[in-house]
Amino acid sequence: MTPQSLDLTGIGKGFGADDVLKTIDLSVRPGEFLSLVGMSGCGKSTLLRIIAGLERPDRGQVSIGGTDVTETDPSDRNLAMVFQSYALYPHMSVRQNIATPLRMRRLSLGARMPLIGRMMSSANALQEIEASVMQAAETLQIAHLLDRKPAQLSGGQRQRVALARALVRSPAAFLMDEPLSNLDAKLRAHMRDELAALHRRLGATFIYVTHDQVEAMTMSDRIALMSEGRIEQLGTPDELYGQPATLTVARFIGTPSINLLPVEIGAEGVVRLFGQDLPIAAPVRHAGPATLGLRAEDLTITSEGLPLRVFRTEMHGADRFVHGHLLADETQHLTLRLSAGEQLAADADGIIHISFAAGRAHLFGADEARIATSLTERAAA
């Protein structure tokens, strides 16, 4: 099966009075790894379930490969889904679990019945299914587990069985609902690599739901960041990190979280931080209060600049995070990322001075949307 595109147009869904999804438009390209990421309750799982056909949208259209499937049953959409709890059939062996999607498609109802089924199914069809099962099992290195029951497997092994069950039928697209969230940290990192490798090898369309921005950043071709039933930004991991479209995106993406400081855009377009002019300018129509976003790695220690009282440093191996309060406003908490070798030149009171390259600052208006800035000639006072 060649990878298929997937298009959502004007999808809306409400439960009771709340709108869980507000008019979602999204196009997934064939063979793309697209992540839906957001806080819990942002509607990402509901959106995935609408794509799968497990939930019906109140409005809008779902199409796969250009065909409208909004009214189609889940089983006829030719999609495979990997669930958070893996959802393996508990009474079946691993072999039967992986074979089930094929048996349901290729065998008649009579042939699927216990006992009499053997007589009613053609040996050919059974052999083909067996061969596909073996191939899927070998791809995921679980051939030695085929005769076990799901209860006898570890979390990571169950995960592989769930993946094998999904890929055995060569679906138009893979849907994954937080598939790694039940694994421990080390295994999760490992499975992340494997999933990315699997995607490269199959070249299939993947739609991946997660609340973990690291998973989304490391595996995706594109990320759709969702918040309160809307897509805040759709773009590559680089775009989301480097040019967050809204404050929500800026807050969500990146570890440690982006530093946010209140600034004032003056009538002449100049940006002021604690009364000091910054060497960046914003369009005059945005005059008023705004928020300045600074990534931890964009802050540097200088001899002058904003004084910061350090209250904690965190060692992360290659990096060191430095946490401090601004002397100008003690309620403002900033985090710097230093390489481990870098000196922390704090004075006796634990005060350092920091500055940043103005070109790397992100500016967000009162409506939380990104404001394009330009560098000014004026140097910071």
């Binding site: 089983s75 495979a80 669930f83 959802a87 009474h91 999607p101």
Partner: protein, 273 residues
């Protein structure tokens, strides 16, 4: 004092068991005693005159005991099969499908648990009489075909079945009936065992309804048969009567012992998890 406290629960449970088991013991004792000893209040297990052979032979030969047993099997199995066939899909729908009015229907099911069969006896009897169905196996079975108790029991058990497995099955192409019977019921076999024991024991031992709708001795299930038996004997031969009672109780005991583990798992797991 501490030892007494540790023993106390056992003493209470043992005395409860004693109260429950005494009638059965008495039944068995009477069934092996000679008529002369019947009114002896001693609980000593060995009778002076061992009359078991005569009592049991009498119980087996005086009335068509095998016929009663067969009737009991037909009625109990008929009821059980239809009950399961109707209750399982109903419970699945109430537990796992979303549709308007589900809460109301579930409330009605629970409310229906409170209606005793006696309240319905008259309309049912009149209905069966008008249809000229009295004195048939159908008349003995029909009122019990729809068991709200079964719906409730299966609902409680199905509710805990993981939704994601059902959704995976829908994506794999299982029909709702295949999901219901092949996956969900399969995950609740202890409940099925528990319900089967409840249902079979209740209807095997039921005297009330067969007595109302059946007058033909050839259709009588065991308890009604025992009644005919005691009429024949005009209540004089308690030993043989108790031998008959022991014979009809035995299958239920065996049935319970076989399903015991599932039965206990079934009634303990239907609670809140």
């Amino acid at each position: 004092m501490a030892r007494l406290r540790a023993l106390l629960p056992n003493i209470i449970l043992a005395s409860g068991a004693f109260v429950v088991l005494l009638p059965f013991y008495w039944m068995f004792l009477t069934s092996i005693r000679s008529p002369a000893e019947i009114f002896d209040v001693s609980l000593w297990p060995i009778p002076k005159v061992f009359d078991a052979g005569e009592n049991y032979a009498r119980a087996a030969n005086q009335v068509p005991m095998a016929r009663f047993m067969l009737n009991g099997v037909i009625v109990c199995l008929g009821i059980l099969i239809v009950q399961v066939l109707t209750a399982v899909p109903a419970a699945y729908a109430l537990a796992k499908l979303k549709f308007p009015g589900r809460k109301l229907l579930l409330t009605l099911v629970i409310a229906a648990l409170c209606v005793p069969i006696q309240a319905l006896a008259l309309p049912l009897f009149v209905g069966l009489a008008k249809l000229e169905l009295l004195n048939s196996y159908f008349a003995m079975m029909a009122p019990f075909f729809l068991s709200v108790f079964a719906i409730f029991l299966f609902h409680q058990s199905f509710r805990s079945y993981p939704d994601e497995i059902i959704e995976a099955a829908r994506m794999d192409g299982f029909s709702e009936m295949e999901i219901c019977w092949g996956l969900v019921l399969r995950g609740s076999l202890p409940s099925l065992a528990a319900f089967s024991v409840f249902s079979v024991v209740a209807h095997w031992n039921d005297l009330y309804w067969p007595m109302i709708v059946v007058t033909d001795i050839n259709l009588a299930p065991p308890p009604l048969g025992m009644l005919f038996f005691s009429d024949v004997e005009s209540g004089a031969n308690y030993g043989a009567l108790m031998a008959g009672a022991a014979i009809i109780t035995a299958p239920m005991l065996v049935c319970f012992l076989l399903a015991r583990r599932h039965f206990i798992a079934g009634i303990t797991m239907t609670g809140v998890k």
